[in-house]
Amino acid sequence: MNGRLLDVWVYLSASPLAGLTLTLLAYQAGLWAFERCGRTPLVNPVLVAVVLIIAVLKSLDVDYKTYFDGAQFVHFLLGPATVALAVPLYNQFQQVRRSAGAMLAALVAGSLTAAGSAVALGWLFGASERTLLSLAPKSVTSPIAMGIAEQIGGLPSLTAVFVMLTGIVGATLGGSVLTLIRVTDWRARGFGMGVAAHGIGTARALQVNETAGAFSGLAMGLNGLATAVLLPVLVRLFTQTG
């Protein structure tokens, strides 16, 4: 590398500008592909962006930490965006209040299914114990999921990856699954997406319908709470008897 190129490289890897720009460019490429393919959920903009960014980072031999130093400014907005979910929730409050009973039952059923079936399927196909414990909180929004993983003996950073994959799978397949089992009620559709696929599911639900988005956002918060309370107890029960 000649001197000037090296200077440019040093500047780019020290400044957050490159990571940020790359994130926005890749996401817009993802959106473009999504629109281009008739807005099918099969082309998930997050997935497209992640694959593109990893390809670029690998080919330039840049590690994740260097990239994240820049991209953290986008990541930071997740907090305020979660707070912003109060607005669709408020707009749909009458509906939320009327379906509180159904929501609670669905929450318990969904929360147990999420953790139980993840561990059961992983075990059936021979996952290691570390992986199983990291899989258990996969349907919960990542800050809570990472905390739970740490508590029950999983790897928090691996859990974050499973949370991400779960969200993408939920956003991609959720709509077709719900149509297949003939659930047409937007409240139930949104709630299912939120319990199973947290924020990424909610982002998808908001794209489709505001009622679904509000129920999904609420479901995400409630499932975080339910799993944080239930899962450590369940794990202790199982490891003692098993």
């Binding site: 992640v50 960014i53 079936s117 809570i144």
Partner: protein
């Protein structure tokens, strides 16, 4: 635009501080969401600037997951070693959870409509 952003950040900050002081098992932003929600209930409506800013943020919600998603690259080794169980668990469990949750909720909502309240 400045006002609504300040409100969002203040709610999040209040949420983060409360969670830490009381050692609650919820992330700060989720508590912040409940705070803003309570505020909207008290006020009895969503001010236009707040609706604009939150709408803009939520329309691009997917983008905000990209940086964390790229974290997958740090675990490519384990992901390929245990690809089958991980794929089975993530895909199978996510699909099953969406179906069970939505089905239970839809069934109960339907039953509620046929009940005496309807």
């Amino acid at each position: 635009m400045l006002g609504p952003i300040t409100i969002l950040l203040a709610c999040q900050l209040a949420g983060e501080l409360t969670v830490r002081m009381l050692a609650l098992p919820v992330p700060g932003p989720v508590l912040g969401m409940l705070l803003l929600f309570t505020g909207l209930l008290v006020r009895g409506g969503v001010p236009r600037p707040v609706a604009d800013v939150t709408g803009g943020l939520l329309r691009n919600l997917s983008l905000l997951f990209v940086p964390a998603g790229v974290g997958v690259m740090a675990h490519l080794g384990r992901l390929s070693d245990e690809a089958l169980p991980i794929a089975a668990a993530v895909v199978g469990s996510t699909v099953l959870t969406i179906a069970v949750t939505a089905w239970v909720m839809a069934a109960l909502l339907k039953r509620g409509r046929k009940g005496p309240e309807a």
